[in-house]
Amino acid sequence: MVPRIWRRIRYRYNVIASYCESCGSYYYPQREICPKCRRRGIVKEVEINDEGTVLSYTVVNGRKIALIEFKNGTRMLAEVCGDIEIGSRVKKAFRRYGEDGEAGIIYYGTKFVPII
């Protein structure tokens, strides 16, 4: 079951992080409040468009799931399509993530591909 709200939210389609203007921290996924300085309303949206580095990964159910780190220090768990090792460079790609069995709705999200 995929709660309805997940499917239609913008952050599934763009990789949006939060930036805390007070302490300079970045967060992915977005946060409404900065856990470092506990300030609200000073958290701005920033899109992550750059390449990432594979910190670690696994293969589960035939899919490669990696923990990817970006230049601003944020990290993201995502599927990678292609061969990777720890340290591999990857970039964003928009892909189908799955289907909601009950509702038959296909949902999409960000995946990554290696930079060759």
């Binding site: 996924p29 990964y57 696994t58 293969v59 768990l77 720890i86 999200g109």
Partner: protein
């Protein structure tokens, strides 16, 4: 107020097809009461650790149900379910401990229970312990998270798949003499290494089975404990901490911050240091979890967990035997019951009733982890 454990009981762990959710608890609870030498009328509150009866057996509100089924309905005592994924048992124990330590209750039961074998895919249910929106959505499940951690540990510190296998081998060996254990059979390094991958680099035999089971302990204040019990085991500390829920938000995925925080606090409160711990039950839902626990609990330096298992330090007879019960790996992982089962086993050890797996111990530590480490509960027990 000093708190003592005066009675313990547990069911066998495993695929208990003939037991229902309700009968499981009854068996563990009555054993604990019998062990404490009380009838049950003395109990002032009951705390139940359970992760997911809603998803496993379609029943919520289980604390009152269990109190009733255990024949306690006439007394109308408060019955509270605590849920913190597979740290539910540890959390329930902590709430029960606090209730007695504060003087609010004199004598209470803490129990844990899970009936997983009615569900079609128990690991899927256990994976609701991780972030559904940001971890499950992208295809990760609980083994995947631990696998990602394991691969980085191997990459960074030179830990080998064989080191992880040694943990599984040790725990199976320990379980042989535990009559309540699910797997009472030794396995070899080759068995582990040749078992199929669940989530690379973790293999089937790196993962604890999901089991049916229930465990219960009776806690009382010192005065009552001394009156009722010849071998009270004291709770010197019971602490809980939490961490960022999803691994993508943790600065260092090789350190379980919640474990570090809870254990440091427990050491401080109890004035017992890592070197004074003679035996430990730690949360080896995956072999890598036990290895990292060595480090986070202060038994080894960060990155040197593998040394402990290689040198046999955590075997029975080693410097700090870990999971002499067989651990989650071989005793079985009855999810919400596990945190209580750990306490049961440590009490048996501290009382000197562990038979062939007996370790000479003064101070014992239990570590119960929820999901991929967002919750950790640490208890320190002493004779």
């Amino acid at each position: 107020m000093k708190v003592a454990i005066i009675g313990v009981g547990t069911t066998e762990f495993g695929e208990l097809w003939d037991e229902s959710f309700r009968s499981l608890f009854l068996s563990a609870g009555l054993s604990a009461l019998e062990d404490a030498g009380i009838s049950g009328k003395e109990i002032e509150a009951i705390y139940i650790g359970n992760m997911s009866a809603g998803k496993f057996v379609d029943q919520e509100h289980i604390a009152a149900l269990i109190a009733d089924h255990a024949g306690l309905a006439e007394f109308g005592i408060p019955a509270i379910r605590v849920e913190n994924a597979d740290a539910s048992g540890g959390s329930a124990f902590r709430q029960a401990y606090m209730a007695v330590a504060s003087g609010m209750h004199d004598i209470v039961i803490a129990a844990g229970i899970e009936k997983v074998s009615d569900a079609s895919d128990p690991m899927e249910v256990l994976s609701s312990a991780i972030d559904q929106e940001w971890e499950r959505f992208v295809g990760a499940n609980l083994p995947a998270i631990y696998a990602i951690i394991a691969r980085l540990h191997m990459h960074k510190f030179g830990t080998k798949e064989e080191d992880l296998a040694m943990i599984a081998v040790k725990n199976h060996k320990n379980a042989v003499h535990n009559p309540k254990a699910q797997f009472r059979k030794e396995i070899s390094i080759e068995d582990v290494m040749s078992s199929p991958y669940v989530a690379e680099p973790l293999k089937v035999l790196d993962c604890a089975p999901l089991s049916d089971g229930a465990s219960a302990v009776v806690l009382a204040n010192e005065e009552i404990a001394k009156r009722l019990c010849d071998t009270p085991v004291y709770v010197k500390a019971c602490t809980q901490a939490s961490d960022y829920f999803s691994i993508q938000n943790r600065r260092d995925i090789l350190t379980f911050e919640a474990v570090v925080k809870a254990s440091r606090k427990a050491y401080k409160i109890s004035k017992i240091e890592p070197k004074d711990i003679n035996i430990a039950e730690v949360h080896d839902s995956f072999t890598i979890a036990e290895l990292i626990a060595y480090e986070d609990l202060g038994f080894a330096k960060k990155g040197e967990g593998a040394k402990l298992i290689r040198e046999g330090e955590t075997e029975i007879g080693g410097r700090i035997p870990v999971n002499t019960s067989g651990g989650l790996k071989a005793c079985g992982h009855a999810v919400g019951a596990t945190g209580i089962r750990q306490i049961v086993d440590l009490v048996i050890q501290l009382r000197g009733e562990a038979g062939k797996r007996q370790v000479n111990a003064e101070n014992a530590l239990a570590l119960n982890i929820g999901g991929s480490g967002a919750t950790a509960v640490v208890s320190i027990l002493s004779r």
